[in-house]
């Protein structure tokens, strides 16, 4: 058997085995408790049944995740620019950034609802807080890691600080920025879900996936709960795929993390 075929077949085999194990576990559980581990076909059925509200909730969560993520990118970039100015600025601010990062956002969710109101706004703020830290740290690291010789080249030609930033420091920070962006992209949908779970549902839009999680678990609709998890998972994939594509577009031609094409 050729290696390529094997590379394609093996994951499929693992997937099938996992499914079999799932069904086995389902039927191994005493009949009365089988609802605790719904079968894939039951989950699919639950998805079909609750399709409209699930997709609406997914759209709401995606919106919150996207806004929080976008806001975190913008604010963290501006902050990273400031932090990259001097080591003095960094030592002054880093401890507080660390504190912010270590603070469990969930604890503040209830009060956040009072500050900005429930629903989308709270979801955005929580997603923002969760995505913010890896972005700031990575982007700052990138902005201060510029090659010394290249900086001297710019000084030799008396480049303004603005040009140095735009033509040298920002482009050379891009690989770091995208590394941060990838982490943030995996966090954003989870952040939005958690935000929605604790502070979502403004009442008129039906809330997001986090809110549905609450509803379905209180109603013991476990198949629907699993469907919600699957959708969140898909949302995460879309986010990461988006960032990976952006990163590819920006870096593949020149950065060493992308194999030089030997075609």
């Amino acid at each position: 058997m050729s290696r390529r075929l094997l590379k394609f077949l093996l994951p499929v085999v693992v997937g099938v085995l996992a499914l079999l194990l799932w069904y086995y576990l389902h039927f191994a559980i005493v009949a009365d408790n089988r609802f605790l581990l719904p079968r894939p076909d039951e989950i699919l059925a639950a998805f079909t049944e609750h399709r409209t509200e699930l997709l609406q909730a997914a759209a709401n969560t995606a919106k919150g995740a996207l806004w929080g993520f976008g806001l975190a990118v913008a604010v963290s970039f501006a902050l990273a620019l400031g932090l990259s100015l001097s080591p003095l600025v960094r030592v002054s601010f880093y401890p507080y950034l660390m504190i912010l990062q270590m603070t469990p956002v969930i604890v503040f969710a209830p009060i956040l609802v009072l500050w900005v109101g429930a629903g989308l706004k709270s979801v955005v703020v929580i997603t923002f807080l969760i995505c913010f830290f890896p972005l700031v740290v990575n982007t700052t690291q990138g902005l201060i890691s510029t090659d010394r010789t290249l900086l001297e080249l710019f000084r030799l030609y008396r480049a303004s600080r603005w040009r140095e930033l735009r033509l040298l420091r920002v482009p050379s920070a891009l690989p770091y920025f995208f590394a941060g962006l990838r982490i943030a992209a995996t966090l954003a949908p989870i952040g939005a879900l958690v935000g929605d779970y604790t502070a979502g549902n403004s009442g008129n839009d039906g809330g997001g996936l986090g809110f549905l999680t609450l509803i379905y678990s209180s109603q013991a609709k476990y198949s629907a709960l699993f469907a919600t998890a699957a959708i969140t998972c898909a949302l995460g994939f879309i986010f990461v795929a988006g960032v990976v594509s952006l990163s590819w577009l920006a870096l593949h031609r020149w950065h060493d993390s992308y194999e030089r094409s030997d075609l």
Binding site: T149, L150, E152, L153, W254, H255
Partner: protein, 256 residues
Amino acid sequence: MPDSPPLVEFKDVTKRYGPGPLVLDRISLEARTGDFISLIGPSGCGKSTLLRLIAGLSPVTSGSLRLGGPGSGAVAPELGFVFQEPALLPWLTVAKNVELAQRLAGRTAAQRTAAREQALARVGMSEHASYYPRQLSGGQKMRVSIARALTLSPEILLLDEPFGALDEMTRGRLNEELLALRGQQAWTAFFVTHSVAEAVFLSNRIVIMSAHPGRLHTEVPVDLPYPRTAETRLTPVYYELVATVSRLLRSVERAA
């Protein structure tokens, strides 16, 4: 033109980095237009520092360093710097990298294109204009780096061991190309190297430095006529100069 003012004039220049030890001690050196001066000496004797002083990348600690243009010297002469590494921006194509100096100097797009095409043709890299640096060999990268330094038609070209990382054959060929380029654009060169053969082949003056602190030790004039070609390396005069400079360099290094 013995009466014209020197293009570069060091008078008792000393250099320390911050509170550190003396790096350069009372350097006095004059370069006249058209000179090709090689600096050679033990590692850490301050060769790179000397170039950085000329380039204005670091201030002198005491003494005076004056750069004169042709005539009055009121306008600072245009400088080119070729670093030890090619120092290309990896996210820009060869063409954009070569244009960079012009771009930073605020030249128009038309000027940039013209200068870029000329410079790339001169170093034989026109075909590679759309390549990214990572697609080039070490020698090709260095050619691009030289092309970039030449786009602003510098009066003074500073080269810090530009060919140090290259194999012997490539280095020899690039040496010949460098002299050919100088035939077209008459810049004055300061060339740091660890290779005696390279220094003899390229320069009309070889300055041997000693270390701790960095001082000018001896200057050896190279009386080989330009243009020099691969044949030059086969002449007895060339051999003898290589031997002389090597001996001097060894005595300096033994003292260190």
